[in-house]
């Protein structure tokens, strides 16, 4: 909170929406291993989300719980509380896919145990003395989350508009999971960045964490695809390849490399604010019709008294 924060980009007010967690549930028993029909490479590229997100979003929640006492703005505090619940549900929802993958013969545990280590230990609280070291590590992690949220908002926006996945005949439950998640990422895309600006906002830290988050994501993602392709019980010599990635991008089944390359550095522009990218209206429109989100809406709240018969 200093002169570092002088160039504050203004958010687009019309993109703001209050946040609440949705009590979603997905039924996986009917989802096939290759839920993008006939395209294991694309299936597994997207499946890496299920490897990274359970631990990753649990970590977001863990870090943000510690960030709450730093917030001096009531609306931002409400946004962060809503963000925490949404991220907790994302983590739970993706986590439920993992046992289903194991039932289909593709046990993800060797990989997820490492991702667990990555977020719980490497990026965990560590044994730091209270004071400057501990504060620095918290601010660094808040900045990392803001950078990661830049990438997840891009992916969320992409999946909401990826009609090619429908035309290809992808599993509807998986598509609903991805788009419910994507829509909530778009819905809350400004929160992490606003929190980062509120507690620090230093440009050097922004660049540093942007680079670190990108490096970690690329490293973990390519490794995840290779892990899935090598261990898929239905593929003989399963290999991940860059060519497949470009091919799927051209078909609209994955984001195009060009679009990814344009989006990544946008975070560093001095005028950047997440509310200037993506569309809240598109996200809310999807959530209004999402099978999982509408079922969650219809659930009676458990706060009702159910003591009697």
């Amino acid at each position: 909170m200093s002169n570092k924060a002088k160039a504050r980009p203004a958010p687009v007010a019309s993109e703001y929406t209050p946040l609440t967690a949705r009590n979603v549930d997905f039924e996986w028993s009917g989802t096939p291993l290759h839920w993008v029909p006939g395209d294991p490479a694309t299936t597994h590229t997207i499946n890496v989300l299920h490897l990274l997100l359970p631990a990753g979003e649990r970590w977001f929640v863990h870090v943000y719980k510690q960030a709450l006492p730093l917030i001096r703005d009531e609306r931002l505090r409400a946004d962060v509380l809503g963000f925490i619940g949404q991220e907790a549900m994302h983590s739970q929802a993706h986590d439920q896919v993992l046992p289903h993958l194991a039932r289909l013969g593709l046990d993800p545990t060797p990989y997820t145990a490492q991702v667990d280590w990555f977020f719980e230990k490497l990026l965990g609280d560590r044994t730091l003395p209270p004071g400057r070291a501990r504060d620095w590590w918290l601010l660094e992690r808040i900045a990392l989350i803001a950078a990661i949220e830049h990438y997840t908002a891009f992916l969320g926006d992409w999946v909401l508009g990826a009609d090619a996945l429908d035309r290809k005949g992808c599993d509807p439950v998986m598509l609903d999971l991805l788009r419910w998640h994507g829509a909530e990422e778009v819905e809350h895309r400004s929160v992490a960045f606003d929190l980062f600006l509120h507690v620090d906002g230093g440009y050097r830290r922004r660049v540093r964490t942007w680079g670190a988050a990108l490096t970690a994501l690329v490293f973990l993602w390519q490794r995840g695809i290779r892990f899935f392709m090598a261990n898929d019980p239905t593929l003989r010599d399963g290999k991940a390849s860059l060519r497949e990635f470009v091919r799927a991008g051209r078909q609209g089944l994955l984001p195009r490399p060009g679009a990814i390359a344009r989006s990544i550095p946008a975070y560093l522009s001095p005028g950047y604010h997440p509310s200037r990218e993506c569309s809240t209206a598109q996200a809310l429109a999807y959530l209004a019709n999402s099978p999982a989100a509408t079922a969650a809406e219809a659930k009676p709240t458990p706060t009702r008294s159910t003591g009697g018969a």
Binding site: D95, P99, W117, T306
Partner: protein, 367 residues
């Protein structure tokens, strides 16, 4: 000739420190890890699933509906490859209105294709039992979650079971299990009248009159609980399930003279649905690490009370018991769990403070 400048000492120290940090962070785990070069967490957290904790829902078909006694129906729900269960377990049944009620499983645990539950119609109840009796018929589909077990059968050299009316449902599979294991047991089974008591023939078949006392109140009065408990063998575990009056009486007797195998009870609503929450009473919550005590009124949650009276920055989010953000560790107290998220193991010493409450007048949290 251009000279390559020597790196500054500060740079060298910074790089060496960074290398040490990375090495320390990776540890020796990386060498043993299945996928080089990252170590794995020894007890992985992700991917364990939450089946049976409210996460996984099952659609089941009602294949049998029978009158088990006056006003009691028994339903058999059939599905494929059902999750296994142990005596004492219950099921969440999602009724057509969306209301969730919990019913004890009273069939055979070895049967992996069907679950059996029983429920009594309560004329003046708030509709849960009425819905079961009026709307669930053979051939219809219902959604269930679970099973979960909050009333497990512990190992003991002998058992005393005390059941009242529909409270026999979780006890019945226990009787079968202990009889099969050859462990000595006794059952005292009370009820208003013989015609209103379900499963009388089943329990009498499991043990003769020396083991089973069926005591309809209109014919034989109330059971002499003091005599039953006094006659319990050394080290016996006491299991009790039934109306509140019966359980309070047993609890009082056992408090005065604790049985060697402990007292185990399951709270029950009159229709046979497990209590998913007792009455909303006021109680106190001690925050052990903070060193303060807050009072929770009948109309506020533990979360609200703590945020208003002690810790304004305490994290929460959904306030409805599903996101898990407000999870706290409980040091002491009888927790009245009302969430849909936690597993049985987690419920032993943790609670979601946004919806769950206390049975007694005090909880102690590790906060």
């Amino acid at each position: 000739m251009a000279r390559v400048p020597l790196p500054r000492p500060r740079t060298v120290i910074a790089l060496a420190a960074a290398a040490l940090v990375v090495r320390h962070a990776l540890g020796r785990g990386a060498d043993r890890s299945p996928l080089w070069p990252m170590p794995a967490l020894e007890d992985p957290i992700s991917g364990r699933g939450r089946a049976g904790s409210g996460g996984a829902a099952l659609r089941m078909m009602i294949t049998e509906r029978q009158e088990a006694a006056d006003g009691v129906v028994r339903l058999r729900l059939t599905g494929a490859e059902l999750p296994p269960w142990q005596p004492g377990a219950h099921l969440d049944l999602v009724l057509p209105s969306g209301t969730i009620r919990q019913y004890s499983l009273c069939g055979d645990p070895a049967d992996t294709t069907s679950y059996t539950i029983a429920t009594r119609l309560i004329e003046d109840g708030r509709g849960g039992s009425r819905e079961v009796h009026e709307q669930l018929h053979e051939g219809e589909e219902v959604e269930v979650r679970g099973p979960r077990n909050r009333f497990p059968l512990v190992e003991a050299p002998a058992y005393v079971f005390v059941a009242g009316g529909i409270g026999i449902t979780p006890i019945l599979p226990m009787l079968r299990a202990v009889e099969a294991a050859g462990v000595p047991w006794r059952l005292v089974y009370g009820g208003r009248s013989l015609a209103s008591m379900p499963f009388v023939a089943e329990v009498e078949k499991l043990g003769g009159p020396e083991k089973v006392s069926v005591l309809p109140e209109d014919e034989r009065g109330r059971p002499d609980l003091a005599a039953v408990l006094a006659g319990a063998p050394e080290g016996a575990a006491v299991y009790c399930c039934g109306p509140d009056g019966l359980m309070d009486a047993v609890a009082e007797l056992c408090a005065a003279d604790p049985p060697g195998g402990g007292l185990h009870m399951e709270r029950f609503a009159p229709g046979g649905a497990r209590h998913r929450g007792g009455v909303d009473t006021a109680f106190e919550v001690e925050l052990r690490r903070t060193g303060t005590t807050v009072s929770v009124g009948p109309k506020t949650s533990v979360l609200t009370a703590i945020r208003e009276q002690a810790l304004p920055d305490l994290a929460y989010s959904c306030a409805q018991g599903f996101c898990g953000t407000c999870l706290q560790r409980v040091v002491a107290g009888d927790i009245d769990h009302r969430d849909e998220l936690l597993t049985d193991a987690e419920r032993d010493d943790q609670m979601l403070i946004c919806v769950s409450r206390a049975y007694g007048d005090r909880l102690v949290l590790d906060l």
